[in-house]
């Protein structure tokens, strides 16, 4: 199915719009990081109360998650019809 030619491009089709959105997102992230220095947090433990703990943990966790998952593909990924094909072979 191809997109009709006379269609108006969607808002997200314009990379400039996405860039603007991302810029706002980066600023919010920066502010959220700085907030840690501005308010008194009820820390659950000493290490959890450290400045920037949650932002750093969230970022690192997701990067680790994706990179490990990517490596898992090398071991675990098979063709889509892996299980069906086996049945036909037998």
């Amino acid at each position: 199915m191809a997109a009709p030619k006379d269609e108006k491009p969607g808002w997200f089709d314009d990379w400039g719009n996405v860039k603007k959105l991302l810029r706002i997102f980066y600023v919010v992230c920066g502010l959220l990081f700085l907030v840690d220095f501005l308010y008194h947090r009820h820390a659950l433990t000493e290490w959890e109360g450290f400045y920037g703990f949650y932002p750093v943990y969230g970022f690192v966790a997701c990067v680790v998650l994706v990179l490990v998952a990517k490596q898992m593909r090398k071991v675990l990924m098979r063709d889509e019809d892996y299980y069906e094909r086996e049945r036909d072979d037998d």
Binding site: L32, Y57, C62
Partner: protein
């Protein structure tokens, strides 16, 4: 509590009525059933459990304490939403299966003894499998059989455990069991663990749910696993082993979810991840942790249902569900996109959305009770769930690159069902006291303090930042048409192969025996032919002659015996 009817009965009767109706009337009556059932619960009076005498046993058909009532309300809401969502269907099989399935789930949570629980436990499996088979593809039928086998097997273990328990204690009461109960405790835990999708026992879920019909998966995701969570909360609160099982469940599926292509299978993995939080809370076992576990179950049914519905709508309208084939649908399905994002925000536990007010109870309890490593694992899982369910699902379906697919919004009933769920997600998240008032245990908890709101927002925004960074730098793994090996490999590949090997040996052995038998048979035939064939002695006389010869022989024999 005492009800006019046992809560499961309106659904079973409704299923009978719906079976003979057709068309719009059928759909309308089906939607009425959970409403009537809800009224039945609403007008319940405080009273004794309802019992039934069979043989020497007292079966407790309805025991409605606060824990059971919470799930009772929840299952009525879930059934209502699911039936509205599927009301465009003209498929009697699915309507009857859905009502029977919802009724069985209610029967199981109100069951006060193990025999009643067992009956509904099996009915859950037998009724729900039709929602998978109703897809009517070879793949769905095969997945349905695997689903049925494993779930019925879970019931058999449950029955075995219950009988051992009866033998040891003389009681069939469905209440706290714990692992102190020895063999019975382990058997029942295993049975519940299969249905709750414990690690290595989980693949029936990720195998079958994505193969069910677009509407069927919505029902499936609501009931079976939540019945198991309820049963665990009832029979195993404070069982330390569950903390670690729950931690593992919260962790490992998110890795699979990242590389999975079928978006409904991504949600199936994400479901195990969410059940992990609940199982963990049950294992911790304090009032706060248990409240967290059951309230998270409540929220999960609604937000996971919403996500499943939005993906079901995509599948229904485009016929596709693989991330690799979708993208750019926000242009043709803007309302579905927004509703999906509400579900995504809820499962990710954004402030003001439902996940925020329940998940954190379990995490708080983990820290309070001295499990910092588990707390870190759950925090990892929280970031991860945002990553795969919160971002990946809406991103690859509705944004990413333009797949060129042009479609329209799904039927109005689907939008309405999703709308009701979205309102509930935001309502519960913004006014948590309604849900908190229904929780079964006494525990003070205030989700909305600055520290919690800010730290959670930080966690989520920086998880999103990681997604953006990985995507822009080309490090994010692309969606690929593929299958990822999981524990199911053992029974879908290794076992058939092993059985294939055994069968081949048996076939060879059979051939040898066959040849041996053939030789013996040939010899027997030759023997008969020698005596009775054209050249044989008995062929020379008439059959009467043979008879006279035989009679003479018998007479001689009897004479010999008489004289002897």
């Amino acid at each position: 509590m005492e009800f006019a009817l046992p809560p499961f009965l309106p659904f079973f009767l409704g299923a009978l009525v719906v079976a003979v109706l057709r068309g719009r009337v059928q759909a309308g009556v089906a939607i009425l059933v959970p409403i009537l059932g809800f009224a039945n619960l609403w007008f319940g009076m405080p009273g004794a459990p309802e019992t039934l005498q069979i043989l020497d046993f007292t079966l407790v058909l309805v025991r409605a304490d606060e824990l059971a009532m919470l799930f009772g309300w929840l299952f009525h809401i879930a059934a209502f939403i699911g039936l509205v969502y599927s009301s465009h269907l003209r498929d009697t099989t699915q309507q009857v299966a859905a009502l029977t399935y919802a009724g069985s789930a209610l029967g199981a949570i109100f069951a006060g003894d193990f025999i009643t629980l067992f009956i509904f436990w099996e009915l859950l499996a037998v009724s729900s499998v039709f929602l998978i088979w109703a897809r009517r593809t070879p793949r769905a039928i095969a997945a349905g059989f695997r689903y049925l086998l494993i779930n019925v097997f879970s019931g058999v273990i449950l029955l075995a455990g219950a009988l051992v328990h009866l033998w040891e204690t003389g009681s069939l009461e469905f209440s706290y069991i714990g692992l102190e109960a020895g063999l019975a405790g382990w058997l029942i835990l295993l049975a519940l663990g299969v249905k709750a999708a414990f690690p290595f026992l989980h693949n029936w879920l990720t195998d079958a749910y994505p193969e069910a019909t677009p509407t069927g998966t919505v029902f499936l995701s609501a009931f079976t696993t939540k019945v198991a969570v309820y049963a665990l909360a009832r029979a195993y609160p404070g069982t330390e082993l569950l903390i670690y099982i729950g931690g593992a469940m919260a962790m490992f599926p998110i890795f699979y979810a990242v590389i999975e292509n079928d978006l409904r299978r991504v949600l199936a993995y994400s479901m195990i991840n969410q059940i992990g939080f609940m199982v963990c809370g049950i294992g911790i076992g304090t009032a706060l942790a248990l409240n967290g576990a059951v309230s998270h179950a409540f929220n999960d049914v609604i937000f996971k249902g919403l996500l499943m519905m939005s993906m079901g709508a995509v599948l229904h309208m485009t016929g596709r569900i693989n991330g690799s084939e979708l993208g750019g649908l926000y242009k043709s399905m803007p309302i579905t996109t927004v509703l999906c994002i509400v579900g995504a925000a809820s499962i990710s536990a954004f402030p003001l959305f439902s996940g925020f007010i329940s998940k954190s109870m379990v995490m708080q309890a983990a820290m309070d009770e001295g499990y910092p490593v588990i707390w870190l694992a759950l925090l990892f899982a929280s970031a991860g769930v945002f990553h795969h369910a919160g971002i990946k699902i809406p991103f690859f379906a509705f944004f990413a690159h333009d797949s060129g697919i042009r479609t329209t919004e799904p039927p109005l009933n689907m939008l309405l069902a999703m709308g009701v769920s979205a309102v509930l997600c935001i309502g519960i998240g913004s006014y948590p006291d309604v849900l908190y008032g229904m929780l079964p245990y006494e525990a003070e908890y205030h989700p909305y303090d600055w520290s919690h709101v800010i730290t959670q927002t930080q966690l989520l925004f920086f998880s999103a930042l990681a997604f953006v960074w990985l995507n822009l730098t080309g490090r994010y793994p692309p969606e690929l048409p593929s299958v990822n090996l999981d524990a199911e490999w053992f029974y879908r590949r290794l076992a058939p192969r092993a059985v294939g090997g055994v069968v081949a040996t048996l076939v060879a052995a059979h051939a040898v025996l066959d040849r041996f038998g053939q030789r013996q048979m040939d010899r027997a035939v030759a023997f008969v032919e020698h005596h009775h064939g054209p050249e044989g002695y008995f062929a020379r006389t008439w059959p009467t002659g043979s008879m006279v010869a035989l009679v003479a022989l018998v007479l001689v024999a009897s004479l010999v015996f008489y004289l002897a």
